[in-house]
């Protein structure tokens, strides 16, 4: 892979480098849902670029927030972010975990939601339905990503990964994952 770092000179401003890194991270995908990137997912909260380069390379700090506290994909994402940055000549990298404010599906990009749907996973609702601890509360109407019917039902709040619930379409009968509101 061609390094972009060669386009960076001592005159490149930290803001320009920051833009380059945001762009680069769009190529780092979620290992569990490979169609969306860490940027689509909204887990990259901030990027800081040191104003002056040092002999160890210009310091880059990535602030990352987990989707779910136990999500094993987070460690893989961290490693892949590091790899992409290293491939492009950034060697002085810090990745800091931030927990607050807690990640929410509201931070997912529109682009990411569309890609989820095309992949067969129902994207989270635009307006966050607040999850309360009340038992047997009325379920949100989730659209089937295959036939677009809203005539679907919840099978389980807990799906194949921490971030998904399991639904079934009453019309086309297809079971599907719903990227649940959080």
């Amino acid at each position: 892979m061609e390094s972009i770092n060669k386009y960076i000179t001592n005159d490149t401003t930290p803001a320009e480098i920051k833009d380059i890194i945001w762009k680069l991270l769009e190529s780092v995908s979620d290992p569990e849902v490979p169609v969306i990137s860490v940027i689509d997912l909204g887990v990259v909260r901030n990027i800081e670029v040191d104003p002056t380069p040092t002999s160890g390379g210009r310091g880059i700090t990535i602030f990352l927030t987990p989707t779910y506290t136990g999500c094993p994909a987070m460690d893989v994402m961290k490693m892949n972010i590091r790899m992409v940055l290293l491939q492009h000549g950034f060697t002085n990298i810090k990745i800091i975990q931030v927990l607050s404010p807690a990640w929410t599906t509201d931070w997912m990009t529109e682009h990411g939601k569309q890609k989820l749907k095309a992949y067969g996973i129902a994207p989270p609702h635009y307006k966050q339905a607040v999850c309360t601890p009340d038992a047997f509360q009325q379920e949100e109407a989730i659209q089937c990503p295959l036939c677009n019917s809203y005539h679907t039902r919840l099978i389980s709040q807990f799906g194949s990964t921490a971030c998904k619930a399991l639904y079934q379409c009453n019309d086309c009968k297809e079971p599907f994952d719903y990227f649940k509101c959080h």
């Binding site: 779910y68 506290t69 136990g70 999500c71 607050s100 009340d134 047997f136």
Partner: protein
């Protein structure tokens, strides 16, 4: 500030999350139906994730090379500060569900307060975990209702579970010294202040489940101080075996 007390307080929260997570993980591959096997395994994962956040914070404060792994895998039974309720064997599905319901209700009200702690890291961990615990509480409430107000057999199992676990609930609200100190220092929660909300939630779900709570108020305690049932030793010997046999092993 007394750092040792803060560490004890965090370890208590961490040990609770780890041990319930470990117990729930025992269901992985053994759940009554596939969807619920996945559900309880997800809940286990959330709990172990919470434990990791707490252990990482405790390790940072402990220093001297402590890590989340050394705290989880290299401390012995008497160092563990989890409550007795969660170290009990899983029993049948009803007993596992009821325990989860008791514990999730407790965690829900505890984290709701803790997210306002003056200790920003504790507050952040609680804020994050609360969203997950909300799902756990909803799921376990629904199962208590389903089984309690279900068939003759499921109701019988639920009643047995209540008999088995009821006397272990009191310890949750009986503050250990490090909890009282944590309240005094301003970062911790007095668990006694959660009891009313906990009682109310249990009562309302029990009513819907056509179950009633026993009046017996006796309680088993000691876990918070490191005095455990024999069961914790068995958990640790299995959970810690690999790290003790192959120190520092990673995969």
């Amino acid at each position: 500030m007394n750092t040792k007390n803060l560490i004890d307080y965090i370890l208590h929260l961490a040990d609770n999350a780890l041990i319930i997570g470990h117990r729930n993980s025992e269901w992985c591959g053994h759940g009554p139906v596939l969807e619920q096997d996945i559900a309880i395994s997800n809940i286990a994962l959330d709990c172990i994730g919470q434990a990791r956040n707490f252990y990482q914070y405790a390790a940072e404060l402990t220093g001297n090379g402590a890590t989340e792994d050394s705290l989880a895998y290299l401390r012995d039974v008497t160092d563990f500060k989890n409550i007795l309720l969660i170290e009990l064997p899983n029993g049948d599905w009803a007993q596992t569900i009821l325990r989860q319901f008791f514990f999730s209700t407790y965690q829900y009200f505890l984290y709701r307060q803790l997210q306002n702690s003056i200790d920003v890291q504790l507050a952040a961990i609680a804020e994050k975990a609360l969203k997950e615990v909300t799902y756990h509480l909803r799921w376990s409430s629904e199962w208590v209702i389903r089984l309690g107000d279900g068939t003759e057999e499921s109701k019988k199992r639920m009643l047995q579970a209540i008999d088995e676990l009821w006397n272990y609930r009191g310890e949750m609200f009986y503050a250990a010294d490090y909890e009282l100190e944590a309240v005094k220092e301003g970062y911790g929660i007095d668990p006694a202040t959660i009891k009313n909300e906990w009682d109310k939630k249990i009562k309302s779900v029990f009513e819907e489940a056509t179950l009633s709570a026993p009046l017996d108020a006796s309680m088993h305690k000691g876990g918070k101080q490191g005095e455990h049932t024999k069961h914790l030793g068995y958990i640790l010997s299995e959970m810690q075996f690999l790290q003790r046999a192959n120190p520092g092993a990673e995969w």
